[in-house]
């Protein structure tokens, strides 16, 4: 009798421990998958292309982008990514990275900004834009976000961005907040970061530009926001429009202090 009981306990004990050990949650397995992809991010390929484009003489003016002012003076590319969007005195506008690259491509190289803005993502100059944005982001990798809020326009854009974030519209009455306005929500296996506050290092605003493995495409923040609009069944925003820049200010200021992991790799 005793032996039988002892054996039963051992058997049960084994069952429990094996079950516990085998019960790696789906979330853990997904995290392992993501970790496996970190080394060897195809974003590197776009980064290399972007660096080349910064230095290459192009456009009707046959000039490079090496004098482009991205917020810390002409030609400075290290550390600028984590301070964008910000106000620029020469254009009298608050601009994000891609908007500012557009300005430089036009003023320094003579390329047609309006044409580029109308070009669909993944085509023509938009590919170059994405590569440049990827490289600029990489030059601030692991640095902490610190968007300036000193200028009146920067503060206005924060408030506008906040309004847009919570504005419900479209056929489904969605807003950005529908998915990103609270903690602990997800769509299928995708955790949704709460973007009304700092979601932490490398999350949300801090994770774009990113290479998306599901379609093998490199996406900048402009494309990320554009796709959010698409998912909410909103009309598409203009490329580098004030609305997208304002949202960037809201998200970026909320991320203050978190580290950028861009360019990241994502599903």
């Amino acid at each position: 009798m005793k032996t039988k009981n002892a054996l039963t306990w051992i058997a049960l004990g084994c069952l429990v421990s094996t079950a516990g050990w085998a019960q790696k949650s789906a979330v853990q397995s997904i995290e392992e998958y993501r970790a496996m992809l970190q080394d060897g991010n195809p974003a590197d390929l776009f980064e290399a292309k972007g660096e080349g484009l910064w230095k290459q003489k192009r456009g009707p003016k046959n000039a490079s982008l090496e004098q482009c002012d991205l917020g810390k003076g002409p030609g400075v590319f290290k550390g600028v990514f984590v301070e964008l969007p910000r106000y620029f005195a020469d254009t009298k506008r608050v601009q994000d990275l891609e908007s500012r690259l557009l300005t430089c491509m036009e003023t320094l190289q003579g390329l047609n900004a309006a044409e580029i803005a109308k070009t669909p993502f993944g085509k023509g100059e938009q590919n170059n834009m994405t590569a440049l944005a990827t490289w600029i982001a990489a030059e601030s990798k692991d640095m902490k976000f610190s968007l300036p809020q000193a200028h009146a326009q920067e503060k206005v854009f924060y408030e506008v961005g906040k309004r847009l974030f919570f504005q419900r519209a479209g056929a489904h009455d969605f807003s950005c907040a529908s998915c990103h306005g609270q903690d602990n929500t997800r769509i299928r296996l995708q955790d949704l970061p709460n973007l009304t506050k700092n979601p932490g290092d490398g999350v949300g605003f801090a994770a774009w530009p990113a290479y998306r493995v599901s379609n093998g495409q490199m996406w900048g923040m402009q494309q990320r926001l554009n796709d959010c609009y698409r998912q909410q069944r909103f009309p598409y925003p203009g490329f580098a429009s004030d609305a997208t820049v304002a949202l960037g200010v809201y998200l970026g200021v909320n991320s203050k202090g978190s580290a950028s992991v861009a360019p990241a790799i994502k599903r």
Partner: protein, 103 residues
């Protein structure tokens, strides 16, 4: 002219780990475009690597290798300063060759 590869070669003792990122669509021939037409297959078929000019690896790939392929392998007996070169050739006959120095 195809986009360049990114090759990193790091020596640790007698072993050098080589990590390569290649820019290539790797179309499987199974995908349909927006108009519903099958996108023709187009993928890297042969990969070769040399160490200081000496062939060390050849590989054949099919269309199921992921887009923008990543490859990792370990070369024996390489040391810092040595050259690792990688060449690929795809189903259209296009090729690309890049080199890196072992660090």
């Amino acid at each position: 002219m195809a986009d360049p590869m990114r090759i990193r070669a790091q020596a640790a003792g007698d072993k050098t780990t080589v990590r390569v990122l290649m820019a290539h669509e790797m179309e499987s021939g199974q995908r349909k475009d927006a108009a519903g037409k099958l996108v023709p297959a187009w993928y890297i078929q042969e990969v070769t690597a040399t160490h200081n000019g000496k062939p060390v690896l050849t590989a054949e790939w099919g269309p199921a290798v992921s887009k923008n392929p990543f490859l990792q392998f370990v070369v024996k007996g390489a040391k810092a300063g040595d050259k690792i070169a990688v060449t690929w050739k795809d189903s259209k006959g296009e090729t690309r060759n890049d080199e890196a120095t072992v660090s």
